[in-house]
Every structure is written in C-alpha cells, then in structure tokens.
Chain length 464, copies 2
Amino acid sequence: KETFSEISPSDFFYRNRDLAGFTNPARALYSTVRELVENSLDACELESILPEVYVRITAYDPLEEAEPKKYVIRVQDNGPGVEPERLPEAFGKVLYGSKYKLRQSRGMFGLGGTMAILYGQITSNKPVTIETSVDGVKRYYYKLMIDIEKNKPIIVEKKVGEGNGLRGTVVELVMEGDYFRSSTKIQEYFKQTALVVPYANITFIEPSGKIFYFLRTTTEMPPPPKETLPHPHGIDVEFMRRTIRQSSDESLAKFLSKRFHRVGLKTAIKFLQYAGIDPNRSPKSLSDEEIVNMVSAMHRYEEFLPPDAGCLSPLGENILAAGIVKELAPEFFTIVTRPPSAYSGYPFIVEVALAYGGKILENGIKLYRFANRIPLLYDEASDVSWKVIHEEIDWKRYRIPQDAPIAVIVNISSTRIPYKTVGKEYIADRPEIERELKNALRETLRKLSAYLSRRSSEEHEKKK
Amino acid sequence: KETFSEISPSDFFYRNRDLAGFTNPARALYSTVRELVENSLDACELESILPEVYVRITAYDPLEEAEPKKYVIRVQDNGPGVEPERLPEAFGKVLYGSKYKLRQSRGMFGLGGTMAILYGQITSNKPVTIETSVDGVKRYYYKLMIDIEKNKPIIVEKKVGEGNGLRGTVVELVMEGDYFRSSTKIQEYFKQTALVVPYANITFIEPSGKIFYFLRTTTEMPPPPKETLPHPHGIDVEFMRRTIRQSSDESLAKFLSKRFHRVGLKTAIKFLQYAGIDPNRSPKSLSDEEIVNMVSAMHRYEEFLPPDAGCLSPLGENILAAGIVKELAPEFFTIVTRPPSAYSGYPFIVEVALAYGGKILENGIKLYRFANRIPLLYDEASDVSWKVIHEEIDWKRYRIPQDAPIAVIVNISSTRIPYKTVGKEYIADRPEIERELKNALRETLRKLSAYLSRRSSEEHEKKK
Ligand SMILES: Nc1ncnc2c1ncn2[C@@H]1O[C@H](COP(=O)(O)OP(=O)(O)OP(=O)(O)O)[C@@H](O)[C@H]1O
Ligand SMILES: Nc1ncnc2c1ncn2[C@@H]1O[C@H](COP(=O)(O)OP(=O)(O)OP(=O)(O)O)[C@@H](O)[C@H]1O
Ligand SMILES: [Mg+2]
Ligand SMILES: [Mg+2]
C-alpha cells in the first residue's frame, strides 16, 4: 500500500536545490553571493540610501588547499536593516519576505537569502550569524539555523547591543564552495553590477586577500520603486475572488476603481455596463459564475488604460552610456529605450544598447543581460534575448559583417520578471517582451548600419 | 515600514506557474495532459498492471471557435486507484504525494497533478471531478477545489457508489487551453510515450472527435521499480541528522548497515574505524561536530560499493529496437546501454540509440530525449544531451557527413532525474551523466562509422 507524505517548502527546495541555483559548490558560492548582494541592493534602493556593500569570501581553514572546501561568506550593507521580530523568519523561512508585492525589485520569490543559509547549514552544519540595526541605536545579533523539515527558524542565540550609529545588516555564513571554479563568474557579477548600479560602493575581498573596489561614479539614485495596483488584463478568477474576499467596498464600481490599476470610477462604471453587471451591486454578492464572466469580460474590454510604467525604474541612457564607455570603450554605440509595454498586465520597459568596435576586440556578438539591474550570467542560449538576436533578426539585412565585434546590452525592468527558473537564470519568451526586444534591436541595428556606411564612405573620400 | 508575508507552496506555484510549465493556454494544455498521463502510468507500473489509459479533450462549448477557449480534459486509467482518505490531499495539496522515495518513477515533486487542477480552477472556476476505486467494490466520487492560499483541498462533494469490478482513477477538469497551438506537441507526446511504453494501450480523443489508438505491441512489462536506500556518497549533514533522529538503532555499525545502500555490518565497522569513531556508540550520542566529520569521511571513503542499479528499470534493447524500427524505419541503427553509474549517490543508467537513413529523411541530427520513460519535448538546446551532441563530440572524427539524416535517442533511468526546472523540461549537465552520454554516443558513432565505410566499399565493389 502506497505511503503518502507532505513536505515543507524548505524541504522541497532542500531536496531540489538545483532548481534554485545551488547545484554544486562552485555554483552555490556564486548563488550565495548574488542572493545576499541582491538583498542588500534592494534594501538600500527602497530607502534611497547610497549603497555601501562589502563582500568578503575567506577560506575557513587557511591550510586547506583542495577545492571544494569551506568558506566564510560575509555580506554587509548600510541599508535600512531588518525589523528584529521579522528577522528570524525573513532569513530562516522559505516563502517568506517583503517582496510579494507589485513593485520592481530584484527579489521576488521569498527564498533566495534563505537558500544561501540553508546551503551553508547542510554543508557546514554551522549557524548563520546575522546582525542588524534599523536605527543605529540598538544592534541585534542572531545566530540562526533552519528547521528544514518544518520550514521555521531556530534561534540558537540572540543578543542586543549598542548601535553606534550604524544602520544596516550583516550576514555571515560558512558553506562548502569552490572559489577556484567560480571566481571568474563572481568577479564578472560584481563588474556588471557596478555598471548598472553606479551609485553604489561595492568592496569585494576574495580568499587570496585581494581587494576589488567598485567605487561609485555618481551620487544620483533612481527614484525608489513604487508599489502599484494590479491591472485588469492580468488578473484571473482566483485573484478576483481573493480581492473580493479581502475588500469591504459597498459597490462594484467603487471596488474596481480602488483595487485596480488606472481604473477610475467612470471607467469602472463603463466597464460594468459593458459586462452587463449593475455597478451598484456589492462585490460580495457576485456568484462564482458572475465572477468568471466579469473576469473574462475584463480581459476582452479594450477601453482600460494600459499599465503605467511610472512605477518602474529603468537604467536610463546616462547610466547605460557611462557603463558602456567605461567597460567597453567602443568606437560606436547607440541606446534605444522602448516605450512602456505590458505582459499579462505587468508593465515593463525594455532598454537595448548596441556597441561596436573600439576596445571590443572579440569577433561576434557578446550579449550582456540585465533584469531589474541583476546581471544574468548563466544559460544565455535559453534566454529570450538570445532567441531574438539569433532567430528573429536578419543581421545581413543591415549589412553588418558576420564577424563584426559587437556587444548587445539588454535591460528589462518590470514589476515581475518572468524568469523560467527559481535560480533567476534566464527569461521566458513572453511574446510581448520578445516583440519589444526585437523592435529595440532593429532600431539599434539601423543606427549601426548607418554609421558603418557613413564611415566607409568617409574612408573612401579620404583615399581619394 | 516594510510589510512581510508568508505564502503557501500552492500560492507560490500559482503566482509562478510558468516555473511548473503552465505558461500560457497552449502550454498549459500540454502540461495538464502529460502530468495526468504520467500519474496514470506510474500507478499502473507500480502494480504491474498492463496500462489502459484513455485521454479525451473536448471543447467545453462546441459553438465557441476562437482559441484560447475552455476544454474538458478527462484522463482515465485502470491503475490501483487512490486510497479515498488520501485522495483529497493527493490532488488538492501541493508538495504532497507518494513519490518522495528513492524509487524510479516519473513523478517526483508532489505537485504535477495538483498544478493541472489548480490551473483548471483559476481559468474555469470549476471544481475537478475525480473518481477512484482501489478494489472494484466501492467507487468514490469527489468534486474538489483547492484553497490556494492555504494549500488544502476543499471537498465540494463526495459520494460512494458501486465499484462494478472496475479499478482505477478518472480525473476530469475544465481549463482554458489552446488545442490549435498545442495539438502537434500533444500528439507527439503520445506517439513517443507509446514508443517507450509499448505494453500500454493509450487512447486519445481530440476535440474534433478524431481518435488516436496506440495499441500495445507486447504484454511484457518491466519489473516494478524497487525502493532503495540512500547511498553514503549522496548524503549530507542534514540528511544524516534526520536519519539519526528517526532511528532507534543501538550502535552506529548497526545504524549504517541498516540505513544505507549496500553497507553491510563489516563495511560499516571498517568505515567507522577509518573515520575514527567507535562502532558501538549510539548514533544519538554523536555531537554535531562528530556528525559533520562522519559525513565528510563518508564522502572520502572509497571502499563503499557503488550504487546498485538493480532497482532501476531501463527500457532495454528490445523496446528501443522495436520503437526505432516502427517509428523511424532506418537503414541502420545501434543501441548502447552504459553500465550503471551514479551521481551524488543516485544510481542511473544511460541508454543511447543512433539511427541513420532509411525513412529518416530530414538532414541533420534529430534528438529524442526520455527520462524515466517520459518524452521530453521542450528546451532541447538547454539539455545535457544536446550539449554532449553539439559541444562534446567531434562528429568529423567519425567521418559522418554534416547533413546525414540521423536520429539520436537518449533514455536516462534513475531514482532521481536532475531536472533543471519544476516543469521537467530538460536535464542538468551533471558531470557523471554527461560522461556516460558521451561514452555511449561515441560507441554508437563508431558503429555507424564502420557501417558507412563498409557500405561505401561494398558499393565500390558493385561498381567494379
Ligand atoms: N540585507 C537586507 N536588508 C534588509 N532586508 C533584507 C535584507 N536581506 C533580506 N531582507 C529581507 O528578507 C526577506 C527575505 O529575503 P529572501 O532573499 O529570502 O527573499 P526575497 O529577497 O524576498 O526574494 P528572492 O527569493 O527572489 O530573493 C526580503 O524580502 C527582505 O525583506
Ligand atoms: N492516476 C493515479 N492513480 C493512482 N495514484 C495517483 C494517480 N494520480 C495521482 N496519484 C497519487 O497522487 C500523488 C500526487 O500526484 P502529483 O502528480 O501531484 O505528484 P507526483 O506525481 O507525486 O509528483 P510530480 O509533481 O513529479 O508529478 C501521487 O504521488 C500519487 O500517489
Ligand atoms: Mg532575496
Ligand atoms: Mg505527478
């Protein structure tokens, strides 16, 4: 007779940690660094704090030579800190966090930081040490482990001390890693992050003791991301039923105008008339059948204003140009920012830059991918950007030689990035995103094509 | 001030259903069919029941033309049924199932069937109907919905009726799908499944009413999969602590020999001596430090017998040959079965077949991938098999022309397939699996190369 069991989400991601990017010691070291750094940058940007992020990887036993081996990973920031009552669950519980909102941020799943701690625990059996202060007055010190079977934190130790005016968070854990095999990717991660977060000071100390400084080149920060309401085109029956259950609006017209993005009272009434529903009815009075009909009418209704991308925070041309000049020093580059669009009701903005020649020496197309300012360094061949570059664009049409030294930089900003994996490795080929990438890339290619023909006719002139 | 929240695993996979392969109506229809069919085949094979699987997709509203639209999906099997007390949670709860074991099966995550039901519910707002009988005497009828926020089933209706001698399970749900866009993949899924499960009768009725029969070509079934113990090389500190906690063995020697794969009392004692631990100590008396040292000694210890693949159920040459002849009718084919191997302590067997010419008309390499008898039809370029074929093998060495019409068929059998996604789309490039695939493919290429040169010299002879 078959025996059944239930497992907790932490047990699920423990057993299937490759799904979250913790495949082997080298990859786990990379994922640990990125998950903790992304948490720090999200926290600072939310409060418009110029980020100071310090990352140190040290061999746990300096005499141990062979990889993989134990490392101490320390990530420190000057962010707003974590509320002490929330801290144990924020770090010790999977599917718990502050990013389950319609707001642009790097984090979205509620498990990245926790997975790093979990991996550290199962490979070193040591608790994680977390320090935090939200006001610089009191500083909290936690030693935590995770009860993986029950998905809850175990507070091994908790202390309170003087804040000394320092706000922010420190996470320090011990894990089995392989720096020899992941150093290139980790250093590339910092380099690319510094490109798109030029207002951050990032310090990275590697096991050899060598220090990499990524100093800020500007003090101008993007406006903090704004939480937005769901758009009618993105909702389904489950979401509608939940929203009705949680609301106490007396009329459907009021309910729609309060709960949905860019739906005013007028629009709500017009839509309800279109859907054949009395705008004065109470939302809770709708039958299941009526909810289904209303939702499918919402999807068909064309008079809703499209999602407003004002809540989004794209890189902007200045940041992209500065990064391209600094890192690539090309002979030519062009940046295209597409107008805001949406997929499944989620607003997004695509920015594509194309750089050519100069210090770009490698022949062929090098692709740099960013999503909400996260550099994506794995699985590029599965990414929607790669698909557009290699399958949807006819490069010959623009008379660009096959071996031209080219860099394509893509950034997608959205309230929800459609990653195909829990490890945030690459982005799904949603048709709307594909279309915007294609249009952006074509525009950059037209500009490069014009530049190349101008340059070749100028050279022609010179020769005469 | 940041607000935190926790979400249940069903809420997580509802919000991120693309992770599980429910990206859009066409893809969701495919995933629904595959998840339910895989559940039926797993159930039948476990009890050595010759599978009779019946799948019907019907338009919910026959007058509705435009896709996407609502479909009724019905999947019926003659399997062992589901224990009625377990049924609501088996289908109405994510991360609940009977496959959290070290045993070869298609299912492994405890969420496939539940995701299909969830997707049906959020797109149609209709409950799923499930009928089951474990003995042919009593037949249970359930109408279920899922409380997605709480991750638990809602029993809308429950009836008991006469069994009429019929054992098995029927799942019927309504969902928004797009048969026009997924028909090719769905039909291919059945065709390839029939190849590797030739002892099954599969009937598929598509919306037009057309019936596809995949009749069994043999009544010989593979032996049912056997549950196996974990191998010392695959365990970590968390697993060891859990196993110690759940055991009541008085001595470490007894504990290791009872709980681990192919570890007898002698081996256990020898290993404990190597690790410097008294074999008579009680497992529960070990300190955390000692557990860590024992686990890392286990990983280093070379005297453990390798995992025994006797619990695995590879396709075997007969089934592969029959399928290749029937579906590809090639001029030449060869099958290589690698000896059992292991990754992270999980035993696996790789089978690779190479077919050439004959009715294979398309130039280039067509790849057919199977894992535990599941056809994998998506994301082939990200799969380890693709990587081996295109990056690890020098085809010119075997003097095989670039445009030769070739099919490569890969099947991997294991107690745990290292999928990279929750939607089971493709397999991670674990070094051990990569190595076995490479060796198998090289062997098939040597045979094809020999055949081609033999054939060309025979033709040469004829011309003279
Ligand atoms: N350095 C930090 N400063 C402030 N808050 C933090 C910091 N690190 C983590 N947090 C809080 O802990 C929560 C959980 O973090 P975790 O990385 O596990 O999930 P997430 O960032 O929400 O999502 P994701 O899995 O996509 O990373 C975050 O939502 C955030 O509120
Ligand atoms: N047709 C069936 N006959 C018998 N048991 C079934 C059937 N379908 C589902 N089950 C039971 O319900 C459980 C849950 O199924 P579900 O598909 O959600 O998860 P799974 O098959 O265990 O894992 P996966 O997510 O990888 O498919 C199974 O483990 C199995 O015990
Ligand atoms: Mg995070
Ligand atoms: Mg299943």
